[in-house]
């Protein structure tokens, strides 16, 4: 990616924006609780630390540019990426009253009885290759010690598609690898209108606990939450017909060793510049008033705004459900204990036994509550969270189109000015300057043409992408909700078995 070694031209593909500051926000948010979304509105330019970076220093040391406090990136290797969060993400603040999930569950929610693995067998016109690929992220293992430690994950790809070398590949990846992949994809595809699925979020608190070796429930839950998120992320990425064929994606899934040093350094230098550009962009975005000639875009934009709002509300509501269900689990367990004690104190043998059975039933019911809360969260809640983040990617793609339009318009204005000054030079009798002007005009005419083509292309791509996204959304929701309903049915049937077993015990009291 040689292009990235140079400072990109203004307004060009400088879309890999580094949002270091988000990690600052991570510091104030506990892992297991609030999901962090980007704000739907434009970012405050003041939040960008761009002022501190000298534009002229190309490829400064990592440490200088790292506002990223995530030890995972900072301490691992010197050439470690800075923050490779999705460029389209704005400063993260939890939107609205996102009720915190208080980590009070005494027992683990880590072993789902239902398979949440992602499997896809959609048939698409893909060089005649039916879409058939299954990616699993598993076996999180801590590598190293102390603050240098990181979590390694096993990524297994099973596929029959010919673009892959083997039918089954297993590699080990760490979180920053995923972020790196996303960053590359975003820088390649976002600006031409492709909706690139956002990578899972970083979390300093969560990772620190894991590094420090805290083997408690909340860090186990954190790892599981992350593992699941990484799996969904990869599946969403490969479901995209264009991204699936991207060499970076294939390399990510197949190479035993992912090259890190080279690309990251390359990115970092350009990264700072992009950050600076983003500051400028932010200001621009607020002032770009696009003459929308296409009502479709206006409508869609509004539609996504609405959807965004609704999904967030929905998400908050589901989080509340998860929270209460966990509370129910705790209370049920507590009651089970006191029922057991009551049974022990009771003289009457049969009654005593019945009370002990009662306690056992309640314990079993508690486990059902936990399973259900797990499903609530990993199916329902995370789905909603994923889509809120995805919509941000969609909105960002719309923004890119605006920028493309803006660039085209700017070039046109420039051309006009050049023509005016050429006209003046005609009478000024400066043949050198006149020729120069004519050359510039020719160049600009080409650029204007290119600008218009770019705009039309991105508009066309976005239409296709939105259509694909919408279809995918329906499929996705339907599939997940079916799984969720299945979990409800399963839980309920198990509950019936428990009651049926208890009834004779209750009746057996003389």
């Amino acid at each position: 990616m040689a292009a990235e070694m140079e400072p990109p031209p203004l307004g060009n593909a400088g879309e890999t924006d580094f949002r270091e500051l988000e990690d600052g926000e991570d510091l104030f948010v506990s892992t297991v609780t609030t999901l962090e979304y980007p704000e739907p509105s434009s970012p405050e330019p003041a939040s960008l630390p761009a002022e501190d970076i000298s534009i002229n220093s190309n490829g400064p040391k990592q440490k200088d540019v790292s506002f990223d406090d995530d030890p995972e990136d900072l301490f691992a290797e010197a050439t470690e990426e800075v923050s490779l969060d999705s460029p389209e993400r704005e400063p993260i603040l939890s939107d609205g009253p996102s009720p915190a999930i208080t980590p009070v569950t005494p027992t683990t929610m880590l072993t789902p009885r239902m398979d949440l693995g992602a499997r896809c067998r959609i048939e698409e016109d893909n060089n005649g290759d039916t879409f058939d690929i299954h990616i699993a992220v598993s076996d999180p293992e801590k590598v190293g010690d102390g603050m240098n430690a990181y979590m390694g994950y096993k990524v297994t790809t099973k596929t029959s598609m010919t673009i892959f070398n083997k039918n089954e590949t297993t590699v080990r990846r760490r979180f920053s690898d995923f972020l790196g992949l996303h960053s590359k994809l975003a820088s390649k595809y976002l600006h031409i209108g492709y909706i690139v699925p956002p990578a899972p979020e970083k979390s300093i608190v969560g990772m620190t606990k894991v590094k420090v070796g805290k083997e408690d429930l909340s860090s186990a839950e954190f790892v599981e939450k992350r593992r699941s998120a990484l799996e969904r992320y990869l599946m969403r990425t490969v479901k995209h017909p264009v991204l699936l064929k991207d060499p970076d994606v294939i390399m990510f899934l197949e190479s035993s060793e992912l090259p890190r040093a080279v690309s990251t350094q390359a990115l970092s230098g350009a990264g700072i510049l992009r950050m600076v550009n983003k500051a400028a962009d932010a200001v621009n975005k607020m002032t770009i008033k696009m003459n929308e000639s296409d009502a479709w875009f206006e409508e869609k934009h509004q539609q996504f705004e609405n959807l965004d709002l609704q999904l967030r509300k929905l998400h908050a509501s589901v989080e509340s459900l998860v929270c209460h269900r966990k509370e129910l689990s705790v209370n049920t367990a507590s009651f089970a204990k006191s029922a057991a004690m009551l049974g022990n104190s009771e003289d009457h043998t049969a009654l005593s036994r019945a009370l002990s059975q009662l306690a056992e039933v309640e314990e079993k019911i508690d486990r059902l509550h936990q399973d259900q809360a797990y499903a609530d969260f990993y199916l329902f809640s995370e789905l909603l969270g994923d889509y809120v983040r995805l919509i941000t990617a969609v909105k960002s793609v719309f923004d890119q189109r605006m920028k493309t339009w803006s660039k085209w318009q700017d070039t046109q204005l420039l051309l006009q000015k050049k023509r005016e000054s050429e006209a003046k030079l005609q009478f000024a009798n400066k043949p050198d300057k006149l020729q120069q002007a004519k050359d510039e005009i020719k160049e600009l005419e080409g650029k204007v043409e290119q600008g218009e083509k770019d705009f039309e292309l991105i508009s066309k791509t976005i239409r296709k992408e939105v259509s694909r996204f919408e279809k995918e959304r329906v499929k996705d929701f339907k599939a997940v909700i079916i799984k969720y309903l299945e979990s409800l049915v399963q839980t309920q049937q198990q509950l019936i078995k428990y009651w049926e077993a208890f009834l004779p015990e209750a009746k057996a009291i003389a």
Binding site: Q303, L328, L495
Partner: protein, 369 residues
């Protein structure tokens, strides 16, 4: 349950007593009490307020003429229901006030009346008859002073409670009762927490269902309609979840919740009886000491006192033993019934919910693309 077998003394049959409903009249509740005539020729239908129940309880407490009455385990009367009470007060009343339309509270009153009517030492009281059969509300009548007032339990409480007993049977009973009172109270409170959380979950589901409805999109195109359909169908499921939580909570509080509440209050009533006896024991021991140490002039009087005290104590202990035996079978029965009813109701609800979920799951799978 012992039925009254002496003619004319209680005209109703104890186990037919029902408190069928609570009628709200402004700020007060009136309970309809129905009982069947012993003669089989019909029923009595009266309306009573909580004050009327309190009057009855006071009457029972004032029965000085019943020998060893202090040894009776008085069926506990549920506390007065506050209609617009603070959360704290509601929490104290617990399960009894949480049910639909005061059903559980009525049930608790019903059990109270049945237990009073079934106790031979209590059911001969004219007040009970009056309460159950008279069309006039008895609550305004003056009540004799309660005999319990003489034994000011409050101040000397703790000292006497630990007083060692002269009888192993009673010492064991006191110790067991102490443990059981604690355990049942704890179990009741924790079960209350469970039920409250279930109610919270029902509310959360309602909220979620509303949010899902808000996601319905008005647009015409295929995907918008498909997505809207999904949201609507899902909200139907969430409504089911809500109903399920409500039913589960109602089942919980009206059966096991009530059972645990009764258990707790009955253990407390037993504790009070045992305490009264212990106080009498202390009184007896004091009287004995006084009699021993008395000067010849006073000795006769002191001896008399001692004898009186001894007689009362023996009567109380006699009654207490019978009451305790009866109590054991009653409390086992009550809890037994509660457990069975609880299990049956929850099983029924679970089956209903399961069928509904399965139906909706199928409908979801059938949703066209």
């Amino acid at each position: 349950m012992m039925e009254e077998d002496r003619e004319g003394l209680l005209r109703v049959s104890a186990h037919t007593i029902r408190v069928t409903e609570a009628v709200r009249d402004g700020d007060s509740l009136t309970f309809i009490v129905i009982s069947q005539k012993l003669s089989g020729s019909g029923e009595y239908h009266v309306a009573r307020t909580h004050e009327d129940f309190e009057w009855l309880q006071q009457c029972l407490f004032s029965q000085e003429e019943v020998p060893g009455v202090l040894g009776v385990i008085f069926p506990p009367l549920p506390a007065k229901p506050h209609l617009n009470a603070s959360t704290k007060v509601l929490k104290q009343l617990g399960f009894l006030v949480m049910g639909k339309e005061w059903c559980t509270y009525c049930k608790a009153l019903e059990i109270y009346l049945q237990q009073v009517a079934a106790n031979t030492r209590l059911n001969k009281n004219k007040c009970l008859e009056n309460f159950l059969t008279s069309s006039d509300a008895p609550g305004q009548q003056r009540v004799r002073k309660s005999i319990f007032n003489r034994l000011s339990q409050a101040v000397e409480g703790l000292r006497k409670e630990g007083h060692k007993d002269v009888d192993d049977f009673f010492q064991t009973e006191r110790d067991n009762n102490f443990t059981l009172t604690g355990c049942s109270k704890s179990a009741t409170e924790r079960f209350l927490d469970v039920v409250l959380t279930e109610q919270k979950l029902a509310v959360a589901c309602g909220h979620l269902s509303t949010c899902l409805h808000l996601c319905v999109e008005q647009r015409d195109d295929g995907t918008a309609q498909a997505f809207s359909q999904i949201c609507v169908k899902l909200s139907e499921v969430v409504d089911l979840m809500k109903k399920n939580f409500e039913n589960v909570a109602e089942n919980n509080l009206s059966t096991l919740g009530l059972g645990l509440d009764l258990e707790t209050r009955y253990q407390e009533a037993k504790k009070e009886m045992l305490y009264r006896r212990t106080c009498k024991l202390v009184e007896l021991e004091t009287a004995s000491k006084n009699a021993e140490r008395a000067k010849p002039i006073r000795k006769a009087a002191m001896d008399d006192l001692k004898m009186k005290s001894e007689k009362e104590f023996d009567q109380i202990s006699g009654v207490a033993k019978q009451e305790i035996a009866r109590f054991h079978s009653v409390h086992v029965k009550l809890l037994h019934q509660a457990l069975i009813l609880w299990c049956e109701k929850q099983l029924e609800t679970a089956k209903e919910t399961s069928a509904s979920y399965s139906q909706h799951l199928q409908a979801f799978k059938d949703l066209g693309e």
